[in-house]
Assembly symmetry: C2
Homo-oligomer: 447 residues x 2
């Protein structure tokens, strides 16, 4: 009997637990789920699944539970994974996570390998499915002997068309804070036609690309922070264009740029007296003083927004000109903005989110020497506001990887992310059964 | 015989040393000047002045020299002053500097006072003369019983009209790096008509004010980072408008904003391959890819610069579109920009710089209850590219304060900046003899 310890009972855990429970009877697994707050697990797990209140910083409990398990699967925040990893090393357990692989996790590689263990990270959606789906095609194109000229990849967590009832065409299906501070902390870096390109934060939301996906309409993409690291990650050395980005519906970025320009997304300092301040006063504190003009007039003038611009609908719909109290103590501009957006962009229980992933490859055909464009797209719509496409596409890859490992179909050792064929082939194949399937289109370019 | 130890032999030291040497014979002072590199002092000091190669981190030398002196005057970088301060405390010596008073320096206040010593900081131009000249008027307005409604203050280190031969109307008279990264590290904060206002870096150079100074023409000012701290510093609690800024010639900020928007002033990451990169490629790495358009065309399009804009002259004059190699290893965008500007904005030995300081006060007259506007301005032109107005206005206040202290005319103890009448009155009076004089104008507003 194999014992699996799942750490973290957030949204994605539902899919992970449900999947592993399905195979638990077949393979005789014993599942334990631990979280600081087990109320999150109400009605989510079967009776035979053991549920425990788990505190990672309770050393006795941490060591005991990890020692008792055969492997650990973690949905905890990335920053906690080094602690989990070191305990796993101590007791010779493998560890799978959906988080970005930190330098600290990588530094354990030699020891993990030596002990014959596997630490598999970035096993969610983005990072996760993005790696697997891109690498499958990159390996295929190279394997067929073609010359890859360009790789572009975009992902977005959006709202499904049937639940899309606001002028931003956006609702939160993930951590709102990450949406507010997206793109900060360094320029977007990528390579285009062999030239390194850098976009500073203040221009990021004005350098967008439009992308059409059949059946789902038009999207816009802005650049992710560091596309250059994918050159090594995906073995793209010498490929002239490598670009990764984030998808939104058209018009989002132009309106979001107003917040960036005003300074509303700054999370580095506290505003004065946000407890008593109203939304209108919050906006006004970023505008010039004028004895007569309204906040709205000043904003439109300052940001050069035309009277008939669709930006106006978006801003007014958020209620940012209202005399409503913020009611946050000592908040940064970004924290105030997050509060406003949380109220407005909430995905309701009956509403559905939508995941969109889109890759575009251009390669020179080895025989015709003509450029060929290949696109591969994934659209996944959630079941409701709890069982979201986001939770599903993060939880399932991790779950499938766990099954493969416990059933001996994954024999790698060391610290890895799923850019390896042995990992991505079976997982992408099985994800199709869960309607997580990519659609490919290939066409020769009309030069 | 009093012994003065001067640390740091940079540009401002010339004026400091010359002044103190003048009084050394009268008061029987013995002057020692120490610097890592004494070659800077060639021809700057009289024979009786002792010149030593001084390494602050040589503990034996530091302790010996400070112990041997009666007081220490330092023009070292601000970050080094806590080390100097602690040694001064150990040997019961007073310390005068031209640097911003750090939290660490402030933390020594109780001990400094207890020992009957004086640590006097911010004794240069800005900080220094700005405090003294503003406080003299603030104290006068309040002393006469008027109600201060607004305080604005601007300072700029510029180039004198006779040496102003470039389209930016700017040359370096101080640390070029500070000019390149000016305004970064937090929003500009100030209070206007009772409202707190915040300007993010990306808008800073578009929120300028125009200022006319009789005989010197027009200037533009952009906001300094934190004007709010001057509320406590100058006792301006309840004053509805407090704003401090930096002066440039009109047009500078609009053109500089192009660099900010492109991302050229970012000092937080290294560009790829700056050693082989040309100026033109450097600019191109911040622009979108286009198969045919020139870098110049792309820049003007991207930044919405009209074909007849004066921004074009400024950019072309800097040579940023030339195929000239940068030749810097692993440089940040800001370091590359600094290199370009250093070549172009160099103040030549025969050229003159110019310091401009401008305060504007609005108060309600206690009798007429009418608003009165009072401006106070200082313009100081340098002698040449070495004996600059910048060096003079930084070095002289420190020198005069030193004389006052050694001759018993300054009897304060503790850690202070020159916002106190006992300090500013005699120093401002004596500075007039050196042509560092403010011109006041008062007028009742036409309401």
């Amino acid at each position: 009997m194999k014992k699996i310890l799942i750490l973290g009972a957030g949204r994605s855990a539902t899919f992970l637990i449900k999947y592993l429970e399905k195979y638990a009877a077949v393979y005789q697994w014993m599942i334990t789920v631990g979280d600081k707050d087990v109320s999150l697990l109400k009605g989510k797990a079967q009776a035979q699944t053991r549920i425990i209140t788990f505190d990672l910083f309770n050393e006795v409990q941490r060591e005991e539970e990890i020692n008792n398990a055969d492997m650990v699967v973690s949905l905890l925040p990335a920053a906690l994974h080094p602690v989990v990893g070191r305990t796993c090393l101590k007791y010779n357990k493998s560890l799978f996570t959906a988080s970005y692989e930190s330098v600290e996790m990588k530094s354990m590689a030699a020891e993990v390998k030596e002990k014959g263990l596997l630490f598999l990270n970035e096993m969610g959606l983005d990072p996760g499915i993005d790696h697997m789906s891109a690498m499958r095609i990159i390996d295929r194109i190279k394997g067929e002997g073609h010359d890859l000229k360009s790789f572009e990849s975009f992902t977005g967590g959006l709202v499904a068309p049937g639940s899309d009832d606001n002028p931003w065409h956006y609702k939160f299906s993930w951590n709102p804070r990450n949406v507010v501070v997206a793109g900060q902390g360094g320029p977007a870096k990528f390579i285009q036609e062999g030239k390194y390109k850098y976009i500073p934060y203040n221009r990021l939301f004005r350098r967008t690309e439009l992308i059409d996906i059949e059946g789902y309409g038009r999207f816009e993409g802005y650049a992710n922070r560091d596309s250059l690291k994918y050159i090594d990650c995906y073995n793209l050395q010498g490929v002239p264009t490598v670009y990764r980005g984030t998808l939104r519906r058209p018009g989002y970025c132009k309106a979001w740029n107003v917040f960036v320009q005003l300074g509303l997304t700054d999370d580095t300092y506290e505003l004065d007296n946000t407890e008593e301040m109203t939304y209108r006063e919050y906006i006004n504190s970023f505008l010039y003083y004028h004895p007569a003009d309204s906040v709205k007039t000043k904003l439109f003038h300052y940001m050069h927004i035309d009277q008939d611009s669709d930006i106006i609908d978006k801003l007014e719909w958020l209620g940012i000109f209202e005399d409503k109290k913020i009611g946050l103590k000592k908040a940064t501009p970004a924290q105030v903005l997050e509060k406003i957006l949380r109220e407005k962009w909430q995905l309701m229980p009956e509403e559905k989110d939508m995941i969109v992933m889109w890759h575009k490859f251009i390669y020179e055909d080895k025989i015709t020497h003509q450029p060929v464009t290949l696109t591969s797209s994934l659209v996944s719509v959630g079941e409701n506001g709890i069982d979201t496409a986001m939770a599903k596409t993060v939880g399932l890859p991790l779950a499938i990887a766990t099954k493969l490992y416990l059933t001996g179909q994954l024999r790698l050792t060391g610290v890895h992310i799923p850019t390896i064929r042995e990992i991505y082939e079976p997982i992408l194949d099985e994800l199709r059964q869960y309607d997580i399937a990519f659609v490919e289109k290939e066409k020769e370019a009309l030069v």
